[in-house]
Amino acid sequence: METALHTEVLPAVSRPARYLGNEYNSIRKDWAKVPLKMALAFPDVYDVGMGHLGLKILYHIVNQRQDALAERVFAPWTDMEEQLIRRDLPLFSLESHRPLRDFHLIGFTLQYELSYSNILNMLHLAGIPPRARDRDEGHPIIIAGGPCAYNPEPLADFIDLFAIGEGEYVIDELIDLALGLLHRGRLPREEFLLEAARKIQGIYVPAFYDVEYHPDGRVASISPNREGVPPRVRKQVVPDLDRAPYPDAFVVPYIDAIHDRATLEVFRGCTRGCRFCQAGMIYRPVREREASTLLRQADELIRNTGYEELALSSLSTGDYTCIEDLAADLMSRYRDQGIALSLPSLRVDSFKGELAEEIRKMRKTNLTFAPEAGTQRLRDVINKNITEEDLLRGVEEAFAAGWDSVKLYFMLGLPTETEEDVLGIIDLANKVLDVARRHRQGPRVKVSVSVSSFVPKSHTPFQWEPQASMEVLEERQRLLTQGIKGRRIQLSWHDVRTSFLEGVFARGDRRVGRALARAVELGCRFDGWSEHFSFPKWTQAFQECGLDPTFYANRRREYEEVLPWSHIDAGVTKGFLMREHKRALEGQPTGDCRVEECPGCGVCTRLGVANRIVGD
């Protein structure tokens, strides 16, 4: 049906196909026949959000049900936002083009701290009060989940309910609860929140917790203010991925979106124990899928989507027990159909000659290596168990196998980092280039060096560490640019100001939410997009709220301090994180419990879910 959206709004915006909602495999249900309506919201533009696997899984789970429907909504791009405001149209869902207000539940995916402003902005555009306390019975329940929910506090004022951990089962539990409470199409807010917080593992309702502060601004205590609400909220984990629901079809975008391809989640979790890595801590334990499950899923996805690319996605895909067999199997199945296989996060030591050869036959993908730090000393500190020899061998094999370029990932500002470590990055890049030159000639030979700034995250051994100041980071970036000679090494880095803001939210407390709300009022949104990011506005927002952002980003915490996320239980124990932190400072590596002895992180014993390695 042609509506004002089609005749007036869509002709006026860029990439209008973002908003059509009728893509192949999208699901439109009859609103009159389905009692419970949920919107799945992603706080970034369609092109980015459509690539997110978690969203596809949840869309599938909810829409599988007869009694519920899920529709998508993404952050409208700024030209669309302008149209909505000008024409006084509320933000709408893609499938039915209904206002977000009409849904019972709205679930936001939290992938990145710099998309928080988009959440508030989306609520605002939907005509829903951004602050939870301003909402009433008539408003949808605002839910959030995803990795950033492990420190939910900066969003505590805006989100009604956080789901901590993996979403596959919790979403059904929430919908069942809501269906039981629905009365004449309305969901009683307080009752729903209280029941959810009391009965469902992983549910955190910030309004049911009081936070007290010390005069110096540190958190003194976080305690429930309702009976029956858990003092610590423990994450949900899916014990067996082979039994977990997984979509047999993805919505196929018209426009060219990120990660627009069939994706297999080969396993979840990572036990390598890199100490900077939040994903490695919060997604424990490792749970692999059986190869037979993966082959079936690949088949269904390819058949139902027609994608030309199949990706294996996991935290460290090369660690999959039968990765070579799996990759070879998939390649032999799909090669003749011209379907490329991509293995995104191959690690140096999982990269072997034959596999490289097989991949090359199929398609030249970008090869990336992530040594993360420039010297062995610092790699020991962060527990990135890669030696220079490993790296150079991996690169050597790649160039020998026909690649012309590789990309190396590093971080600046890691704990204990000195200038020597920074110079080590240049040194390593030069050595890689030397190897390249031994094997390859021509103008395409290139080493890309991508340097991000380290942001300490909650639930990691570095959660107590100060983030390097913006001045120090810039100084080290300068050191790098001066040290890298020639055009064969291409250096790229991140804006230190966005990393700083990310750091503030990553370890911020509830009060940070005030600055967030103010910044959105000042016009901040799409902060992850350099063309929209305005640091001065953020500075102003913090100032006006009487908050010092460096207190959150650049301060060292004591072990005794009550951290703003201390009521969130990610499975790993504080004792383990402290041990790992101390070992880091001593430069002591810790082994991978998949192959070596158990370092006692606490996950398996406390959650009753063990590493699940296929073939064991």
């Binding site: 018209y254 426009i255 390819i302």
Partner: protein, 229 residues
């Protein structure tokens, strides 16, 4: 086997670009499990060629695409399989086999017919004004418009490219050059008439090959044509 497909683009997909449309067809062909012939090399791709890009926002009754297949298929079956897996509002209406040596579609298609309808009823007297504006325009020998390309702006004389244009009832019908022998975009014509193109619905009725004083459909080149409707 080279198969020529004729398809419609309905209102539900009128906002997908030409590039998006190409990708959509590639994927639909794969879903339909047709035996696609692939290009050689590291990035094997199906061999698809489209006749002519349709403007964003426009609908069409007859668009064309050639696809190379690795082995022969039954045309009626191919139409059904494709229509089962195409997004709503993209429909294959006919298929035919063309000789492998046939010239590419975009090299032969050179004429397009459009119907332009306002989204809202026009004010009294507006149609008459449009009619005379159109008549004035057709009187001219040169009608210049600016085109911006990657290599800068240049002026194009549209007049010889407009073969016919008339107000007919509550729509404008036009027959223009489109493709290898020059191109008139319907929105350009509307702008020349003082209209805001986004307030009009642009519908392509057909694409043709002008040959020996008559317009033929690209399907005429195909031997057997199977109607899918």
């Amino acid at each position: 086997m080279r198969v020529r497909l004729c398809f419609t683009k309905g209102p539900g997909v009128r906002f997908i670009s030409h590039l998006d449309l190409m990708r959509t067809f590639e994927r639909a062909l794969r879903r339909a499990a047709l035996p696609l012939a692939l290009t050689q090399g590291y990035h094997p791709r199906p061999k698809l060629t489209f006749a002519s890009a349709l403007a964003l926002g426009a609908t069409s009754e007859a668009e064309y695409l050639d696809v190379e297949l690795a082995s022969p298929v039954q045309l009626g079956d191919a139409i059904h399989r494709l229509n089962d897996v195409l997004p709503d509002d993209l429909r294959v209406t006919a298929a035919g086999e063309v000789p492998a040596a046939a010239r590419p579609l975009m090299a032969i298609v050179d004429t397009a017919a459009y119907e332009l309808r306002p989204l809202w009823p026009l004010d009294d007297g507006k149609w008459e004004r449009l009619q005379s504006a159109l008549a004035d325009l057709l009187q001219e020998k040169t009608v210049l418009v600016e085109r911006t390309t990657k290599s800068g702006t240049r002026q194009v004389n549209l007049r010889p490219l407009i073969l016919r244009a008339e107000v007919a009832g509550d729509e404008i019908n036009m027959l223009v050059r489109s493709g290898s022998r020059g191109n008139v975009r319907p929105d350009e014509l509307l702008t020349l008439l003082g209209e805001e193109p986004t307030q009009w619905h642009i519908h392509r009725v057909g694409l043709f090959i002008a040959r020996e004083g008559r317009l033929s459909s690209p399907m005429e080149e195909a031997g057997v044509v199977v109607d899918g409707s």
